[in-house]
Symmetry: C2
Subunit: 386 residues, 2 copies
């Protein structure tokens, strides 16, 4: 329901003095303080202290890594799903099937931030016992930042793998219908002296987060990222709210959009079909104001995580020094433009983490407003801005 | 060394009558007959009957699936590498490291067509024993079509996975240097009534095969697939022979080329670094006239294959009927253009296989010429054209 200009003007006059008096428009918060606050909010909503800490840590990890779309910006969304009964704050997560190196868990409607950590721990335990471990998760909710889950493997000298399906927003190649989520793939690989290699990517041409930021800042986007409801291309990120669709990685058939579609499909099948969760167009929406479709074929959202033990293949020291050589050689790649050297996946996020650990996490107006409202509702004061 | 027009004219007059008398310009061969012939050629070059049959079957599978770049068109290349001593026709493939669900093999310079089958069998055995199996392969050579290897898992009710690194031809995002191969990813997933889902894709914006075909037919290619040696874009596939580079899936930073780079890098690390093979710019060239670089960090080319047992996660029947639903629902995706319905990965190749099993495998002039030369050298007559 669109508001007319007159109504907006009214809101403007009402909200400006309120904002000036009560709301800092932007804030920069210390990561640890923010994490503790987020944990206390989850505890207020019924999470155990352990689960609340886990969930808070996943969100703050996203904010530290500069993936603002997956950080505290999502907190109000999670809370609304808790209030609606779609996220279970006290889940009884169960292993429902198992072999020495595989298994499936029913997350009992836990938030993915919590169920993915549970699953990844189990995968690591299995990898310790028999070389690799793979866990499918059904009956879960939003995953949070995939990198956090895959990176759990690193300190165990393992390669971590995590994928999840997500609410439909992306059209398969040749299609004009929302059938897939932005379905990320994340692989974290330890190195020796060099920092770990961490690839965390949406299988769509653009992540939802990037499109949201373009919309928020009124910027147009390049062609080849989304199409309108009628299938025509668009450079306006707001079209996503009018029924538009994101394209898969590759953008068009000439540039391999069937590959992005294929990868997204594999993520959907591992996460949804293998686990017994929902998949494709049936994945429940993240937003609380949209109900899941009727007659769902599965339970909740699905994820799939795993770990390979390095020394199940090669001596750890040998692997790590070779991985260092890999990273050093790729950094030396002849650049297209001398000012932009070739990066290793994870570089940007690691550098941003180092910066934000020192300088704090910057929050935009909309997010600050959300957090202030949450703070009031739960009566737990927000930390002060730095 | 380019020939002058005069020299070419000379060749033209000499070769035309020869071709008319001795060479059919194009041929269509029965798949089974061609496969037997290829096997007899490999045996002539010293392969055991079993290995020769395996290698021939991988090549003919590619031809049947319409992936002509990976079929008998490659035979002469393999034979030259055997003659040069770079492919070992009598390899002693060994497991050099093992856990219940992982392992590494030294392929003893076998061709990948053979070592990948060996590794995949081992992965399937491990998956039978403990739910999943993962094998890294070092000291190998060209892999052939990845789909053949992954699809071995299907009849065991497993999901098959295979990747390989390859000779450097692709530049990382932001780079202008050949650092990666077209590094394919293949995932094969069984269904029930529906045919299996088989994704087999290069992680580059275009496969080498596609660019070769464009070059052979003098067609220009879309922008965003390759750049010239100096980093400028090109629509001329022949630039690849002048030091040009293929771009990664995504094509440019705006459209996610760092994602294609990241995926290609993961393939390279699993195949090369984890196994102890070469990686990145050190992967030995496929062509016999180029020698490997000095001071290689590993042994040969590397691959990585694996299998997940479906019933390590979910009842097989349940999985298969759900997979059927996935496939049926995706086929019904609203198409962008009613004449081009959305496909399931593997559809094109399966339909082509059905056609070519009946109609035979069409071979272009250049390939026929190769096969005729091989036939003469080995004194093993080619099957007749259909």
């Amino acid at each position: 329901m669109k508001k007319s200009p007159r109504q907006w003007r009214g809101l403007f006059f009402v909200s400006i003095p309120f904002a000036v008096v009560l709301l800092p428009l932007k804030m920069i918060l210390n990561a640890k303080h923010l994490e503790q606050w987020v944990s206390s909010i989850f505890q207020h909503k019924g999470f155990s202290e352990t689960d609340a800490n886990t969930a808070a840590n996943v969100l703050i990890t996203a904010d530290l890594r500069g993936i603002d779309s997956h950080g505290v910006a999502r907190l109000s969304g999670y809370l609304r799903l808790i209030d609606k009964g779609r996220i279970n704050p006290k889940p009884n997560i169960k292993i429902i099937r198992e072999t020495p190196s595989t298994g499936t868990i029913d997350a009992d409607a836990a938030v993915g931030l919590v169920s993915a950590e549970y699953a990844m721990k189990l995968a690591i335990e299995k990898a310790n016992n028999c070389g690799s471990g793979w866990i499918a998760i059904k009956n879960s909710n939003h995953f949070g930042i995939a990198a956090k889950h895959s990176m759990m493997a690193l300190e165990h000298n393992m390669i971590g793998f995590s994928v999840t399906n997500a609410s439909p927003l992306v059209t398969p190649a040749l299609g004009a219908e929302r059938m897939l989520g932005t379905n990320p793939i994340c692989v974290a690989i330890p190195a020796g002296q060099e920092p770990a290699f961490v690839l965390d990517m949406a299988t769509s041409a653009a992540s939802n987060g990037k499109l949201e930021i373009a919309e928020r800042t009124n910027k147009s986007i390049p062609e080849g990222l989304l199409i309108q409801k009628d299938g025509t291309t668009s450079t306006n990120p707001a079209e996503l709210k009018n029924g538009g669709m994101v394209l898969t990685l590759g953008s068009d058939m000439d540039h391999g959009s069937y590959k992005g579609y294929g990868l997204s499909a594999v993520v959907d099948i591992l996460s949804g079909v293998l686990s017994g969760a929902n998949f494709g167009p049936w994945v429940p929406p993240f937003v609380s104001f949209l109900d899941p479709l009727p007659n769902l074929p599965g339970l909740g959202i699905g994820h799939f995580v795993g770990a390979w033990r390095i020394d199940g293949f090669r001596e750890i020291d040998e692997f790590k020094s070779t991985m260092d050589l890999w990273i050093q050689r790729f950094r030396q790649t002849q650049p297209l433009n001398a000012e932009h050297p070739v990066k290793i996946p994870g570089d940007y996020e690691r550098e941003e983490t180092e910066r934000r650990k020192i300088n704090g996490i910057p929050l935009v107006e909309k997010v600050v407003e959300d957090l202030v409202n949450i703070s009031k509702e739960c009566n737990i004061p927000l930390p002060n801005s730095l």
